[in-house]
Assembly symmetry: C2
Homo-oligomer: 725 residues x 2
């Protein structure tokens, strides 16, 4: 046998081994011991469902029906991975599932997370709680994940799903090569590569949904549309929010408003903290007569200044509440802060709440609520072993409580054709159509931005609210971020800090608030797209086509104190995000003199100057105190309220900016801003078309579309931001 023959024989033998091995592994994978295959049925184009056992408290009870037509518009798709490799099993107390995962897949989602984007190689226990401590304990731990390959998986369970994202290896699965730790150096891994996502939850039922998508964004759209589409908040909700001290009286609020006027700051919503009530923690939900002797007059007075009233509450009922005796038959075994805990899965309990709130608040013109303490720590909330009159498991009630309250209040107001915009401290599956923004007691600026990015992946809205700052620099930096978020809110009621409390940056604070308000036509249109197509108004960069995620593994050096398993750390880009179709937001954090920005493929331009800044590359921008770095895509069209216009006018003149050199068009949305009439066609879509005249100069035109119902803006001033640059 010569060398070449030997080599050929080797090749053939290896090939044989390879084929044998592959077949064998595939056979193994579909026949893992003790597990059964899931049975999938198509529910809508690109959406499949598998049922295991019987679900108890279904989160989908608290969402609106899927936007089936919009999902159909996304088109048919094939099941995105090998259905034979989807397995489940059940023990007397637990259901487990296993779904395939390929080596190069990145996994996103799992709700409001403050750290990282790619969730792979972690275990999350998805528990509604304050953020911190355990992976997956957060205000909105949505059991929905998205693969970079273009599909999403929703584990529909009211229990705390524990999910192993590409970590943990079955002995009968495809195992990576073994490495001896003593001699293997960096090749040994504390978390070996795994070929599956595995998850489990206590209980007797679970549903699994799979969402297809040609892109990661399309997966998110399908999920959002399946949950009823995105929410379109009232226009006032996108204005400036300010919360006053808990002991404030009506007179204190009038004084506060006068101060805003004196300092020339816009003000759209006043939030009252617990003390508006006669008793709070637990809550009476009745106005405190000493601080608010005439609530109706108070709400009217603010309304005349174009200011809405938002009321803080938590769900735990004080004995002194006027709704106490009515709600008492429908409360759980345990109190929270000594207040009773209504079982709002019961219609009778819902009626008590809504009846009370209608009469005492909503009839007076109150616009919505800040639903606090629906996330709380175990030391505050009811224990897992509590019981509720509906018979629902206490863990399930707790996991869904924030979602249920959002749904109740929103659907109640929908019947009155009134949109609302609330705050809430917990949310869950199916939240995209909920008109509520999540907030937290946690207060770290950079993780707040990561949360803003992550919230877009699972149908959530998040506000990086401002409570206080240690310096003028931090003050303006936090304002810049919150002005580019779903809710522009100052929640400094405790610290008493006002927008003008750091005089050296007062002008810059005012400027960024005004800029946000001027961007309303653009932002409101982005929310319309959320509502109709499921595409979120604020988006993580991984939802952007052409974005090359800059993920690095660093470290891995064994240290017997800080890293005894020599684990690698993942560095990701989680501090920049998209607002609407064209604007990339890259906040600056206190102390930074410059920052890195990763631009997706295509030409990008500075928002303020129109200058070209780069194309699909990493750039470094210098920090300027007065400006948050914003970048616009080539061909980006940004409709804004023209400078000097009344920011609350219904038909302000517009400044429409165009960036770069590409001709483009943009569909500008408008409606009455407050009602649900848009659902019956009462809105306008105007096309803004940028083309080139003969000779090459850009020109802009406004074109009415067939969806025109008279919701106008004023005259347009076109601005060619990049012309001649």
């Amino acid at each position: 046998m010569n060398q070449s023959m030997l080599s050929n024989t080797k090749t053939i033998f290896c090939l044989f081994l390879f084929i044998y091995h592959s077949t064998y592994l595939s056979a193994q994978n579909t026949k893992l011991s003790g597990m059964d295959q899931m049975k999938w049925k198509k529910v809508l184009p690109g959406v499949w469902k598998a049922e295991i056992g019987e679900l108890q408290l279904d989160p989908f009870n608290y969402t609106n029906p899927p936007k089936a037509k919009a999902i159909q518009n996304l088109g048919e798709a094939s099941f995105p991975f090998d259905a034979q490799k989807t397995l489940h099993h059940q023990t007397p107390t637990r259901i487990g599932i296993r779904l395939p995962l390929e080596e190069e897949e990145k996994i996103y989602g799992l709700g409001l997370e403050f750290e990282g984007i790619n969730r792979r190689k972690q275990v999350y226990t998805l528990k509604v709680d304050h953020y911190g401590g355990v992976k997956g304990y957060t205000h909105a731990p949505v059991p929905f994940y998205i693969s970079s390959k273009g599909y999403g998986v929703l584990i529909n369970s009211p229990q705390r799903v524990k999910i192993h994202v590409g970590v943990s290896n079955r002995k009968d699965s495809q195992l990576p090569e073994l490495v001896d730790r003593t001699t293997g150096g960096n090749k040994w891994a504390a978390r070996p590569l795994s070929d599956a996502v595995e998850a489990s939850a206590i209980g007797t039922g679970m549903e699994v949904y799979v969402f297809a998508g040609n892109t990661v964004l399309e997966v998110v759209q399908r999920y959002n549309l399946f949950c009823g589409g995105g929410v379109l908040p009232p226009k006032w909700g996108l204005g400036f929010w300010h919360r006053v001290h808990t002991q404030s009286s009506d007179q204190d609020v009038y004084k506060e408003i006068a101060d805003f006027e004196k300092n020339d700051f816009p003000l759209d919503v006043i939030g009252l903290e617990p003390g508006w009530q006669s008793f709070a923690y637990p809550c009476s939900y009745d106005w405190d007569e000493s601080r608010f002797p005439d609530p109706g007059k108070f709400v009217d007075a603010l309304s005349q200044k174009g200011i809405k009233v938002n009321l803080w509450e938590n769900p735990y009922v004080a004995p002194s509440s006027s709704m106490y005796s009515s709600i008492k038959p429908y409360t759980g075994s345990h109190t929270v802060w000594l207040g009773e805990v209504p079982d709002y899965t019961l219609e009778a309990a819902q009626k008590v709440l809504l009846g009370h709130h209608q009469k005492k608040h909503l009839d007076l013109g109150v616009s919505g609520y800040k639903l606090d303490e629906v996330d709380g720590y175990d030391v505050w909330l009811w224990p897992d072993h509590a019981s509720f009159p509906s018979g629902h498991d206490a863990v399930e009630v707790r996991q869904l409580y924030g979602l249920i309250l959002q749904h109740l209040l929103q659907e109640h107001l929908r019947k009155q054709n009134r949109r609302t915009y609330n705050l809430v401290r917990s949310s869950y599956i199916g939240a995209s159509d909920k008109s509520a923004v999540i907030y937290s007691d946690y207060y770290q600026h950079k993780p707040y931005v990561t949360a803003l990015a992550n919230s877009s992946l699972t149908g959530l809205l998040w506000t990086p609210e401002i409570r206080s700052a240690k310096s003028a620099e931090e003050w303006i930096r936090r304002f810049q971020t919150v002005c580019f978020s779903p809710m522009m809110m100052l929640n400094a009621w405790y610290s008493g800090t006002k927008p003008w409390s750091f005089p050296e940056v007062t002008d810059q604070v005012r400027e960024v608030i005004v800029l946000r308000k001027r961007l309303l036509p653009y932002l409101y249109t982005a929310f319309h797209n959320y509502q109709s197509s499921g595409s979120p108004p604020f988006r993580a960069m991984v939802l952007e086509q052409g974005f090359a995620e800059d993920e690095k593994l660093v470290g891995g050096q064994l240290d017997d104190i800080t890293n005894p398993y020599a684990e690698l750390q993942r560095l990701e880009v989680s501090d920049q995000y998209m607002m609407g179709p064209s604007i990339l937001v890259a906040p600056i954090f206190t102390g930074e003199k410059s920052r890195k920005v990763i631009l997706p493929k295509g030409k990008w331009y500075d928002f303020y100057t129109g200058q070209f800044v780069g194309d699909g590359e990493s750039i470094t921008v210098k920090a300027t105190l007065g400006q948050i770095p914003l970048f616009v895509k080539d061909g980006g069209i940004i409709p804004m309220i023209a400078e000097g216009e009344d920011l609350n006018s219904d038909t302000p003149k517009l400044e429409v900016r165009h960036y770069g050199t590409t001709t483009a068009s943009y569909l500008l949305y408008n409606d009455d801003g407050v009602s649900y009439d848009f659902e019956n066609g009462a809105y306008s879509i105007t096309e803004l078309v940028v083309s080139r005249r003969k000779g090459g100069k850009l020109q802009g035109k406004r074109k009415l579309t067939t969806a025109y119902q008279g919701f106008d803006y004023g005259k347009i001033d076109w601005k060619w931001m990049s012309a001649g640059k």
Copy 2:
């Protein structure tokens, strides 16, 4: 009606109200909706048990039988609280219990905790895990708590018990006064006073045990005796331990030993890290032939120098292991670090392990193991939904894994009449008779001391092992602590630091090691008391009669970033503890120039000088680099090996110190130090009696007792430490 009549009427009316109120509350408390009363049966004097449903994997399968006679010696007792107020209920997946709690009760225990002593007003999820992150996640989360009132409660469950210690209030319980948060200031509490301990666990069965006690110590003794009594380690286990680099060969170890000799440091146990094996992480358990060509010769060579060999292992089996094919039929569904996970609840699996270890290690003279990775994070260990061939729930197997392995190896060696002393990274219920010391990757000096105190409350031994230090000061401070702990171990294999690596403190390091070795007669006797009476050798101060716990509540100032609920913080004395009957240990931490020591009631004396230092008071002691502050009770008798004696001699001369002015006697224990013959009476108890001669001078006498079997010490040199002071 005159004033006095009015006042009398008022008094009578109030009295009536009080009686009515009390009766009513009591009636309420015993009829909480949805809960049933527990049925208690006495199992031993002062020990009661209630069964709920059917327990699955019983932790008591892995303990030795109760020391019934010793429990009887503690005497009869009445049920320590109102049995009518002990309630339970069950859901399809969970069992909940409720036990009464009075306002002034403090609650201790719950396993190896690194923070605080009083567990009240917290929720603990008792999960075997690395320490950190969640309250109750720790290496040995024992569901046993002790009340300052003098009773203990063990929740016997193999699941992760979630326990609400005086936090959470049922609506039908005795509720404290309501306070309005807006106006109530500091009176409002985020954690209102609760009248119960409530707990729950997933599963279909649970047992609850109640242990009575005239003192907190007696409660702990009953619990320990119920779990088989405390452990008496072999004498060598109380010597100096040193672990060598994972890549060490036999020659490297010989060199290391020579270095110890050259530097004049005692050495009793050498620990080999993973690399002694042919494959590790997962483990082969077979010797690596290149590093240890002749393991029998190696163990013999060390044995001739009086040095024992301890082998590191984790339980996850490598395919290259010589026991792989035999264990394979008995492994769980998931791997850990790609190694298979034996189901050691199965006798067949136990046999494979023990058979292999006997032949490959124990027959050669290996003394025991370091059982690592039995606690691990969720990202490393098997998931909760894994399955095991025995059918046991994966959570239960994981919770008990460390306990099971300790039990297996110890009982296996017991059959050979060989005592062992192991290291282990997880433990659980019933650990007091286990000859294993827990350690952690966590590495904070002060919390290590708190852990040492807390470990005594639930039958655990803990070592504040030394891995490295940032300065010579930290080096000596850590040595001082570890020398006054159940295992004096240097685990600096990775950092390579030697006892003499900080030359400026080498002498002090040597001195404290020698001091510990000289104290062996005293310490070994303390372990004997642990074994026979359940009284731990190292004890939290709350186990000491006359100790007034110095607990303060501080803080409570609302801060919107760090303390939004204005919670109070509890300051406790958790950094001092007792060793044996008479020595109070108060370690100094790096950077401290002095420290506060709380002395229990009675006169106390400086260990080194015999000077009186105080009586039932808080004193401040100056830090001296070379000394760990030690204090001895009035009448304390401390038998030590005399200065200059061979520290490993079987019959060294003794120096017996007496402190203070009180006459006293002390029962000195001795046996062969290695076997279980003591269980059949092969030991000696010698009484050391200090009395006064005529004229008042103290004199000491050695008296043989009826329990004398010839295990002697040499001549005694009596030292009257406080004479003339």
